[in-house]
Point group: C2
Chain length 425, copies 2
């Protein structure tokens, strides 16, 4: 029977979930995986919290040095978050030859090169399944399940908070502010929800996932990012009428022209498998050149789902001595040979408020046509007081063309573009 | 750079798809996986077929001995199917110390014990991702992505042919016979569709997947199996009206009372993620005690999707020397300590044709009540000529209770149960 000792750094949601799974399933892993996993050490400022969860007093460490120097600890779980102490502790653990399992997307996104270098030098393992999409084994799938494929595109709902907010706005007609409040009340959003609602969290994950999918470093700085804070009830309602559901999508594409990576609110046709991914659920929809369309769906956060990913990594680490790192050339910066596309192609939804006079629509259409923005559908509704609202869905077009067309429409004097959203076509 | 030579046994859909992926992606795998994979040998009766696909003449073997004795062949892909030559050749390859990658669900379901024994003895690898759910890496996920979990249930649409047939019946109101004909015309069904429509194919796969999920051998003989040949337009239409979609589900459950495994047509609520899995797509919906609900969705068959699974296994085999077998105790028979449940619990849909007289409904309800079959919904429609059709959906109940109740209803003389289908509740 293989034996391995684990230290858990940070005993919040993720750390305590991991502890619970490991202690409750100890016999189960001996039987089914042939490995005995013991939690030797827990490092947590709030010691009482750890004691309350049943961690024995002698397993509670006072500082990182105690953990690093403990010869019984083979695997260190980092569940602190952020890039301060987490980075320092993880590097210390790797430099001491300990294998590290982390759920920290910001850390791995920004410092994977540094961490992998340290791990390789010390022949330690480095695992990060829990950093992306919680319990869904998307990283294992990219590394060991779909290697046969050139992945051409990836579209994911990879932030549970924003998906919960958008679902509430869609189902209950809630405003953005109301939906965020409900999410906070239920523990799906932080008191300061910036990292989620501005798309940072999704962008970290997209950086990691697209690096793996496209076999090259995709730095965070290359990810275009637009959050959901400007989304209105009207956007959601108009989209519904046109047969769309609004999702914060993380999109990665690779073609001969280069790589594009972007996080932004997007209208998804209601028949698309991603349209049915609601509440705090996550999903990643991939296209591979051999496998075709494939989707993984599950819980993207939470103590036990994220703990499931961490513990699965621990078991993997305990039973593998090979293939312990990611398979892209891991550097701090993007490969110089790789082109990153910033003038994306997409279909667009535009909502325009205009004077309700004859000739107005044709003038707006003329501007769009001038910039080669062709229209797939449009609708008009009378708002009274000489005003009308026009909604357009365009065919796929260049982002820059749409931006230029919008500036020109606004300059007409009698029309104002109120909302611009991308559409999955 | 690691180098590995591959032999492909059988050059039908799967074998030729595998050949195409390996030859087109040779440089890609060198770059991204650090492994050079060369097809050294193809064994196929119809040599012209292989030549037409571009296999060089000198790579076409005349018999299995040539393949086995070729020192350049490290990995043998079995894409013959069935349990005749396939079994013999796979055993010969393993006994010669070659690693085997197979897409053969019947072979692995029935003979995994024999194959794994030979593989272990010779220190050869044995991989079978392509045997279940085509390109979807469900086996890798169970082995290396969800090990932290006790899997409590599994529900899958794991046969593309029957899903195509049921989708056509649902969307176009086609009869079973018409839908099968269309599937045959489009290549989704064999000329003799028995293995698919009678549920054998799904039962082989369920045996393999539930053995992995539940960490114990689940023999084919333990899988309850009911096909879709008796399904009528009326069943589909009635289900639609009640908010259900009919799917051939493969269901595995594990609890303290034991394991149950069954393949049968099942009504799925239209809001369930599996209800939206249409045409020849497959999906597996799992519940793990930590991860919660998780679903994998993709193409369950076809040259390239199945080739994707085979080639991913080849790459895994070429880059791993550890963990090359399944992780359940692999024997020919079920573990004596394991109880297999045959009196399942399920909700049921019943369609009853009855005389349209007062008192009839109450007598039928009384019979159901007597057997503790409680009713969740019911509807009645007048068929004219003194006849009425009653449809019932029951609460979850024991299978045996429903069977006994049906026999008693039929014995009433004025009522005949025309259709009995299980319902996901």
């Amino acid at each position: 029977m293989k034996k391995v000792g684990v230290a858990i750094l940070g005993f919040g949601t993720v750390g305590s979930g991991t502890y619970r799974i490991l202690t409750e399933h100890k016999e189960f892993y001996k039987e089914t995986q042939g490995v005995e996993i013991t939690v030797e050490s827990v490092l947590e400022k709030d010691k009482q919290r750890a004691l309350d969860a049943g961690v024995p007093k002698e397993a509670i460490a006072s500082n990182i040095a105690e953990v690093i120097c403990d010869p019984d600890v083979g695997i260190v779980v980092e569940a602190i978050g952020g890039i301060g102490a987490a980075r320092e502790y993880v590097l210390a653990a790797l430099n001491a030859g300990k294998t590290v399992v982390t759920s920290n997307k910001e850390l791995f996104c920004k410092y994977s090169h540094e961490l992998e270098r340290a791990a390789k030098r010390m022949n330690a393992g480095l695992y990060f399944e829990a950093s992306c999409v919680g319990g869904v084994p998307i990283i294992r799938t990219l590394l060991d399940g779909l290697q046969a494929n050139k992945i051409t595109s990836m579209m994911g709902i990879i932030n549970g908070t924003t998906n919960f907010v958008l679902t509430k706005m869609t189902e209950n007609g809630a405003s953005y502010e109301e939906a965020v409040k409900e999410a906070q009340k239920l523990g799906f959003a932080e008191l300061d929800p910036t990292a989620d609602v501005e798309g940072f969290d999704a962008a970290y994950k997209l950086s990691i996932l697209s690096s793996l999918a496209f076999h090259t470093k995709v730095p965070f700085a290359k990810v275009f990012r637009e959050g959901i804070t400007e989304i209105t009830k009207q956007d959601i309602a108009d989209g519904k009428e046109l047969g769309y559901r609004l999702k914060l999508l993380a999109i990665g594409k690779q073609s001969n022209s280069g790589i594009e990576v972007r996080v932004h609110p997007t209208f998804v046709p209601e028949v698309h498998p991603l349209a049915a991914v609601n509440d705090s659920f996550n999903a990643v929809f991939l296209k591979g050149d051999s496998v075709g369309d494939i989707m993984l769906y599950g819980r993207g956060a939470g103590a036990l789902p994220t703990g499931s990913a961490i513990v699965s990594d621990i078991i993997y680490a305990a039973t593998h001595t090979e293939n312990r790192y990611s398979t892209f050339k891991n550097t701090a910066n993007a490969d110089k040979d790789v082109t990153f596309i910033s003038d994306f192609r997409s279909a667009f939804y535009l909502r325009v408020s205009a004077s309700d006079k004859s000739g107005v629509l044709s003038k707006i259409c003329a501007v769009l046509a001038k910039f080669n923005v062709s229209i797939e559908k449009m609708a008009q509704r009378d708002e009274g007081e000489g005003k009308a609202t026009l909604t357009f869905v365009t065919h796929e077009t260049r982002e820059l063309a749409v931006r230029n067309a919008i500036a020109r429409v606004n300059a007409l004097g009698f029309a104002q573009v109120q909302s611009v959203l991308r559409v999955v076509s």
